[in-house]
């Protein structure tokens, strides 16, 4: 799996473990010391990212769509931070 750890300036740490195939997410695990309310939202974000094209626009749209649907809130990180970490993991 590809891996990247991103310390959000003034925020928390996000870690990405990622399997990709043909430029799409095959599996992703998002860990870290951030807060997400409600906590179960992380499973939905990871599930909804499956098969997502790995580019900033598609990733951000997918994450924000899930968060809106579940009324989720990140504390110490943002969807953009998750996207950044996924893209950096792809470079690794």
């Amino acid at each position: 799996m590809k891996f990247f750890a991103h310390k959000v300036p003034g925020g928390k740490l996000i870690k990405i473990k990622l399997d990709e195939e043909d430029g799409r997410i095959k599996r992703v695990v998002i860990t870290g010391d951030f807060f997400l309310h409600p906590e179960d939202c992380i499973h939905s974000i990871e599930k909804d990212l499956l098969n997502c094209r790995i580019n900033s626009i598609d990733l951000l749209n997918r994450i924000e769509s899930t968060m809106t649907e579940m009324s989720c809130q990140f504390i110490g990180a943002t969807p953009n931070d998750i996207v950044y970490a996924i893209l950096k993991a792809m470079e690794s």
Binding site: K15, G32, F34
Partner: protein, 238 residues
């Protein structure tokens, strides 16, 4: 953990009321945030060889070493809509952390809230906190560091360089402090506990009435302990 969740479920069902607990971890333990990976954050082999429990919390945040002799943990559990449970999460951290700040002030330690979820004295962290909102309740819990064994803490925890690199501090010992290091050896854990009790009562304007778990709560504690908090499925998920 199981006690907190049992109380939350009882409050949701109208069988219990707002609760403030103070406790110590016996044996000493490492808890990780709900979004962390146990194997990434904790030297599990070392913990098992040295009778240190490992557990995943239901709150986010980071990995914490809970030294039986080194800290007091609090948890405050409130029903949704309580005056001490504002909808804004950052506001609620600030409000509930004022109990610790008032308690430390009672001991003679000046401290302040540092967003998102820390309390610092000077520039050093003396308390970390974490919150979840579920079961129609707010649970906030956190530690106040009484005495710090830095070497042991960073033996059991795997702290990544990425977390501290942007603060330009390479020595982790400069980032945390403790009640004992500020006040000296004459202060006891009992002193800290009494100060925290006073602090929460004063800062939050609450009357504290001693209580105990109901039989139903105790039964739920045992169920949660065996089926969740002692289970590898929970602790080693992610």
């Amino acid at each position: 953990m199981a006690i907190d969740e049992s109380i939350m479920l009882a409050i949701k069902e109208g069988r219990s009321q707002s609760t403030l607990r103070f406790y110590r971890w016996n044996p000493s333990a490492v808890s990780i945030g709900t979004f962390q990976s146990m194997q990434e954050e904790v030297d599990v082999d070392y913990c098992r060889a040295n009778n240190i429990d490992v557990i995943r919390r239901i709150t986010g945040g980071g990995a914490v070493y809970h030294d039986y002799e080194g800290e007091i943990t609090y948890s405050i559990i409130l029903p949704k809509g309580h005056r001490l449970a504002p909808d804004d999460i950052l506001d609620s951290y600030r409000l509930l952390c004022s109990g610790i700040i008032k308690g430390l002030e009672y001991l003679g330690i000046q401290s302040e809230f540092k967003p998102i979820n820390d309390i610092i004295s000077g520039t050093k962290k003396i308390s970390g906190n974490a919150q979840t909102r579920r079961h129609s309740c707010l649970l906030q819990h956190g530690t106040t560091i009484f005495d710090l064994d830095v070497e042991l803490m960073f033996t059991v925890l795997k702290v990544p360089q990425e977390k501290i690199s942007d603060k330009m501090i390479s020595d982790i010992k400069e980032r945390v402090t403790s009640v004992r290091s500020i006040l000296g050896p004459s202060v006891s854990l009992q002193d800290l506990r009494e100060a925290l009790q006073y602090g929460f009562s004063e800062a939050l304007d609450i009357a504290l009435v001693p209580g105990s778990l109901s039989n139903d709560e105790r039964e739920k504690v045992e169920e949660l302990r065996s089926q969740k908090y002692q289970a590898d499925d929970w602790n080693f998920s992610r």
